[in-house]
């Protein structure tokens, strides 16, 4: 298997973008080409979840490829729900590792604000089991609400812990120009004060407004290259060293213990094994915090903390920038935003930036090894990636 490097990156603001989807998607592609110095690639993968439904556009990869005048390169659209982004990177990894391609452009793009937030949530709710879950009106926030309650009952996580995740990630996003939410929040404002119930209303009890990610438009790009092709670009050698993926039952109630995220556990273990790393060796991680509870649960399942102790590490400040393992320095899905198909690529973009030492005010000092966890469905399909800085 050949080694795979990240040679170019680009991103748009994660926010409401009033441009056609293919243009939103092409923009970070253009930035990444400029960053890498390449003018063409062998293959384009575009990760997207809802264009067919929310933007009346299918075959998105062909449209984006044409925007970038990259014909006759190969192009495919990859859909794996909210994990589409990391799935597209995994597919790009396979194309290069196998020797089929030397350079692959991976773009994740989503334009969810073309419809209103309820319709966007409804589109994402089509991920749930059609007969056993969807018919009841269940959405992803409801799934996360039921999951959070079980987690609280079992491990002693409190609404305050969830609030701490939100405050930390909003703080981190203040230093990220491309983040959706530039809004500093406090525990007083969202949990403790009498006004908190108004500031932070219930969405899916026990989850409140500030426990949920925003609905964002946005796109991100990472260009992957083989060792030889990467050398020619002269860019810092950031290697995609480990890739892992694992799946679980579609219906959440079908799982032996619904508080276990076996898909994250399996995907992370594979990524670490391929990279030859242990969780304790990771300097910075981007974990899928579409809901605050998921940052805590994923940090445990990925192996960074013992099961049931993620909230304790959070309390101690270990997951802040400057702590033993900074999680979501970009602001995470919570504050950077969650344009579903773009999210996994956005996470990889942040890790490449951190390992290059180009993350400016939110830079994790001396970061050499990074990790991402991109969570699809409600934990039925998770892709994890491990990155290392090489000499």
């Amino acid at each position: 298997m050949r080694e795979v490097f990240c040679v170019g990156i680009g991103i748009t603001s994660f926010t409401r973008l009033e441009y056609p989807l293919a243009e939103i998607a092409a923009y970070p592609g253009m930035m990444a080409l400029k960053d890498s110095g390449l003018s063409k690639v062998d293959q384009l993968y575009v990760a997207n979840m809802g264009a067919g439904r929310t933007n009346h556009q299918t075959g998105l990869a062909s449209a984006v490829l044409d925007q970038l005048s990259l014909a006759p390169a190969w192009a495919e659209t990859i859909e794996n729900g909210p994990a589409s982004g990391a799935s597209a990177i995994k597919t790009g990894f396979m194309a290069i590792a196998s020797g089929m391609c030397d350079t692959v452009m991976v773009i994740g793009a989503e334009r969810m604000r073309e419809v209103n937030d309820l319709e966007a949530t409804e589109c994402v709710a089509t991920l749930t089991h059609p007969q056993a879950e969807w018919i009841y009106g269940i959405t992803l926030p409801s799934m996360a609400g039921m999951f959070a309650r079980m987690y609280m009952d079992k491990y002693g996580v409190t609404p305050r812990h969830l609030g701490m995740v939100a405050v930390k990630n909003h703080d981190n996003a203040m230093d990220n120009f491309y983040a959706h939410l530039h809004e500093r929040i406090t525990l007083e404002g969202i949990i403790d004060s009498p006004e908190a119930a108004t500031n932070n209303p219930i969405v899916a009890d026990p989850l409140r407004f500030y426990d949920c990610c925003p609905v964002s438009d946005g796109a991100a790009c990472v260009i992957l290259a083989s060792g030889d092709a990467a050398k020619k670009t002269g860019k810092p050698r950031i290697r995609l060293a480990g890739v892992g993926q694992a799946t679980d039952t579609l219906a959440v109630h079908d799982r032996k213990d619904p508080t276990d995220l076996l898909s994250t556990r399996g995907a992370a273990a594979q990524a670490f094994k391929m990279a030859g790393l242990k969780p304790s060796q990771i300097d910075v991680a981007e974990l899928h915090d579409a809901f605050t509870i998921l940052e805590i649960a994923n940090s445990e399942e990925a192996g960074f903390f013992k099961k049931g102790e993620g909230h304790i590490a959070l309390e101690k400040g270990e997951t802040r920038i400057g702590g033993s393992l900074p999680i979501n320095p970009s602001g995470g899905l919570k504050a950077k935003g969650h344009p579903v198909g773009a999210t996994g690529v956005g996470q990889a973009h942040e890790i490449v930036l951190q390992l290059r030492g180009e993350a400016e005010k939110r830079q994790v000092k001396g970061a050499k090894r990074g990790f991402t966890c991109n969570f699809g469905g409600f934990g039925n399909n998770v892709v994890c990636l491990a990155f290392t800085k090489e000499k």
Binding site: E119, A132, G137, T139, G145, I202, P206, H253
Partner: protein, 119 residues
Amino acid sequence: MEFNIYGYKCKKCGQVHYPFRTTCKKCGHFIFEDKAEKYELVPLSKKGKLLTWTRLRSLPGDFEVPELLFGIVQLDDGNRLTGQLDIAAPKTGMKVAGVVRVVRREGYNEHKGIVFESA
């Protein structure tokens, strides 16, 4: 008329599945291979214990109500179901009993599902 939610019992090992799956999750038996017999339909218990619940205030467009409650219920027969709750103040661990009725109207389509009440 009383409706039920039916589980799909594997003819080979007896594992009950809900929702339906084409391959038994326990023994790997291909349920569609038994063309004559398929699987055995067994009515699931409607009584059980509430494992977790949520109150959703941001609803899909098909529902013209201010909020909906959902829960996962551990049934007395060992199976589990997700359903709506018709309980004002649910508590984890409480005993519940379900009724199968229309839970969603989508245009001209009606979807039947289970709604749990306190038992």
